[in-house]
C-alpha cells in the first residue's frame, strides 16, 4: 500500500516536471527544456549494468514527449541509441534482432509516448532491461524522439539499402 502511494506521488512529480517543462518552450529551437537536465553522455555516465524484466512500475497517464517533432532531439536520440547498445538488441537501424523491430507498427506494450517511456524505464518480461535510474529521463525522451522518426524522411542515419552486389 505504502509503496503504491509513493509511486503515484513519484508519477505525479514526473508528470508535473514534464508539464512545467512544456510551458513556453519552443521545441524547434533545440536544447533541453527549462528545468530538465542537460543531456551529457560520456563514458562515466554509462550505467554499470541492467537487468532484464520488470521491476518498479511507473504510472504516467497521458504524458507527451517534450521532444515531439524535434530533429535535433532525434539526432541525439540516434546517438543515444548507439551509446546504450540499443542497436545490439534492436538492430543497426532498429529493424530488430534479439529484440523486436521498432520500425514497424507492431508494439507489444503499447505505442503512446507514455507506453514507450514506461517500457524503457520498467523493462519488460521477455528481456527488455530496466533502464529506469540508469538512463536520465531527458535522454529517454530523445530516444523516443528518434524512434518516432523511423521510416520517415526525418530519420537520422537511415538504413543503407539492402543490396545484392554479387547477383
Amino acid at each position: 500500500m505504502a509503496t503504491s502511494r509513493r509511486m503515484v506521488i513519484c508519477a505525479l512529480i514526473l508528470f508535473a516536471c514534464a508539464c512545467e517543462a512544456n510551458e513556453g518552450r519552443d521545441v524547434t529551437k533545440g536544447g533541453p527544456p527549462a528545468g530538465v537536465a542537460q543531456s551529457n553522455v560520456t563514458p562515466d555516465t554509462i550505467p554499470a549494468g541492467v537487468m532484464p524484466g520488470i521491476h518498479e512500475r511507473v504510472i504516467l497517464g497521458d504524458v507527451k514527449n517534450p521532444y515531439t517533432n524535434s530533429p535535433a532531439a532525434a539526432r541525439e536520440g540516434r546517438q543515444l541509441f548507439l551509446m546504450y547498445n540499443c542497436v545490439g538488441c534492436h538492430g543497426g537501424r532498429a529493424g530488430g534482432g534479439m529484440g523486436p523491430s521498432l520500425r514497424d507498427s507492431a508494439w507489444s506494450y503499447g505505442s503512446t509516448d507514455a507506453d514507450l517511456f514506461a517500457t524503457i524505464v520498467e523493462g519488460r518480461p521477455a528481456g527488455m532491461p530496466t533502464w529506469g535510474g540508469k538512463i536520465p529521463e531527458d535522454q529517454i525522451w530523445k530516444l523516443i524522439a528518434y524512434v518516432r522518426t523511423l521510416r520517415t524522411p526525418q530519420e537520422p542515419d537511415p538504413p543503407p539499402p539492402s543490396i545484392q552486389p554479387n547477383r
Binding site: 524484466g53 538488441c89 538492430g91 543497426g92 534482432g97 528481456g127 539492402s162
Partner: protein, 615 residues
Amino acid sequence: MIERKGRRASMLVAGAFGALLFAVACSKDSSAPAVAVGRTLPAGSTTSTFPGADKPGEWNQPGRDWANTRFSPLDGITTANVANLKVAWTFSTGVLNGHEGQPLVVGSTMYVTTPWPNITYALDLADAHAPAKWAFAPPTAAASKGEACCDVVNRGAVYSNGKIIWNLLDGHTVAVDAVTGKQLWMTTLADINKGETMTMAPFAVKNKVFVGVSGAEMGIRGWIAALDISDGHVVWKAYSTGPDKDVLIGPNFKPYYAFMRGKDLGVTTWPSDQWKIGGASVWGWVTYDPETNLLFYGTGNPGAWNPDLRPGDNLWSMAIFARDPDTGEAKWAYQMTPHDMWDYDGINENIVADIPIDGQTRKVLLHAERNGFAYVIDRTNGQVINAQPFVFTNWATGIDLNTGRPNRVPEKETRQGVTIRNICPSSTGGKDQQPTAFSSRTGLWYIPATNDCMDYEGTAVSYIAGTPYLGADVRMYAGPGGNRGEFIAWDPGHGRKVWGIKENFPVWSGVLVTAGDVAFYGTMDGWFKAVDARTGTPLWSFKTGSGIIGNPIAYTGPDGKEYVAILTGVGGWMGAIVSANLSPDDPTAALGATGASPDLKKYVAPGGMLFVFGL
C-alpha cells in the same frame, strides 16, 4: 553404447579387415577420396562403427557417436527406394521459434527438446498416436529471451546413465529420469543478468556431462564445465580467457604452433582487463576420442566485434581445445582466427576420424570453420594437415601450415570508423553451428554451407552488463554466383570439393548420412531433401511447413522399419527475420543477417513441427 561382448576377437578381425581395406583404398585412383577406417569394423562390411556409437536403430546423443559423425548404420532406406519416402507422422512442438538440434531415440521412446521454454517431450513410438509418456516443462525465465543473440534456440538433449539431460536458456542444466520424466537434478551455471545464456547440447561420457555458456555478443567470459552425471555438481570448469590457472593450462599443455606457447596468454594477448569481458563462449558441439582420451570443442568470438578495442591475438577465443575429460586439463589448443575481425566463432563441431592421407592413416579432426576453411587437424597434437576454403573466401589467402596462422588480406581487415566492403565469408561464416556429417563408406564429409559476403564497420561501444557488447555495423548479402547456400561433399584427405548442390538460401540445417548411402539435409525455405551420398544426385524432397534449421536423425521404429526424423521451424541467426518478424528495410538488423535473407518471409512463416518419414 556399443556391445562389449566378443569385442577382442572382433577387433582382431577388424584390424585384419582394416588393413585389407586400407590396401584396397590406397590402390584405387588417388583422386577419389580414400575410405576412412574406423576403429571397429565388422568383418565383411565397409561400414565402420565409431567409438561410443549408439545401438544401430537408436540415437542417444547429438552426433550418434562420440565422434559426431551423424552417420547411421541403417540401410533400409537406400538410393533405390528413397524416392518412395513419405510422411509417417508429425508432432507439433507448440513452440514457434527456430528449432535447431535433433530428437533422440532410446528404445521405443523419442525425446524432443524445444526452443525456449525448453520443454522436453518423451513420445511413445510404440503407439501409433505417439502420445507423450511425459513432458517436462521447466520454469525457464522469460527474461532470458532478451539475452539470447540469435533466437531462443536449443540444440538438443543427451541420453546417458538413464537420464535425459539438456540446457535451459536461462543458464541451468537439468537431468530427468528418462522413463518417468521426474527431475533428478538441476544445476545453475549461468547468470542472465550478465548476458549469459545456454543453448548448446550437452555431451556425456565417462559419467560426466559437459556443458558450455553462450553470450560472446554480450561481453561475457566464456567457459566449459564438467558436471558429475549422478548429481550435477561441477567437477571442473575451464574458462576461455584469463590466466592459465583459470583456463586449466598447465605443464602438460603442448600447443603445436609457437604463437600459442607462453604464460598466461589468455591475459597478455588482450589490452588491460579486456579478457574479463572477452567472450570466447562455448556454445557449439563437443566430441571425444577414447584412444587419446581427449575431449574436443571450440570457443567463440572475442568480446566486442570492434577489433580496435582489443589489440592482440585475443587468446583463447576462436580456438579448438583438446582437454582431459577427467580433469579438464588442456593438452593442446589451436586458435584458427587470431585477433578476429569478422566474428568467425570457432565453436563448430570437430568430427573424430581416421583418414588415409598421403599413404598414412592419420588420426584427425574434421572442422568446417566459420572462417571459410575446412580444417583437417591431427588430433594428437593440433597440427593442421590441410585447410582449404570450402566457400569463396577473401579475408585470407590461406593458412600457413608452418606457423598455423592465416595469411590475412589487409584490405579485408576491419576497424572502427571505416566500412570495409565485400568481405567473404560474412560473419555467419562458411558454416555456422549446423553440423556436418561424415561417412566412412563414401569417405566424404558433408558440409551444409553458406555463400555470403558482407560490409562491416567497427563502431564505438561501451560495455553495459546484460546488454550486447558489439560495436559493429554489418550488412550481409549473397556471395559470388548469387546462391546463398551450397550442400557440399568434401574429400578431407585431399582438401577439395567433390561435388556441391547450390541452394538459394544458406543451408542452415545439419546433415545425416546413412549406410544406405543417402544424405539428408533441409533448406531454410522448408524443403527436406535426400541425395545420393556418393554422387550428389537429388533423389527425393518434401516441402515441410516452415524452414529447416535442425539436424536429421535415422532410427528403427518398433515395427523394425527405418525412419528419418527432422524438426522444422525456421529461425536461428539467419532465420530471425521470420521467427522474430524483423524489418527487411533494415539490412543491418539481426547483426546484418537480415540483409542476407530479406526475401525469406515470402517462403516461410514461423513453425514448430517434428516430421517423421518412412517408406
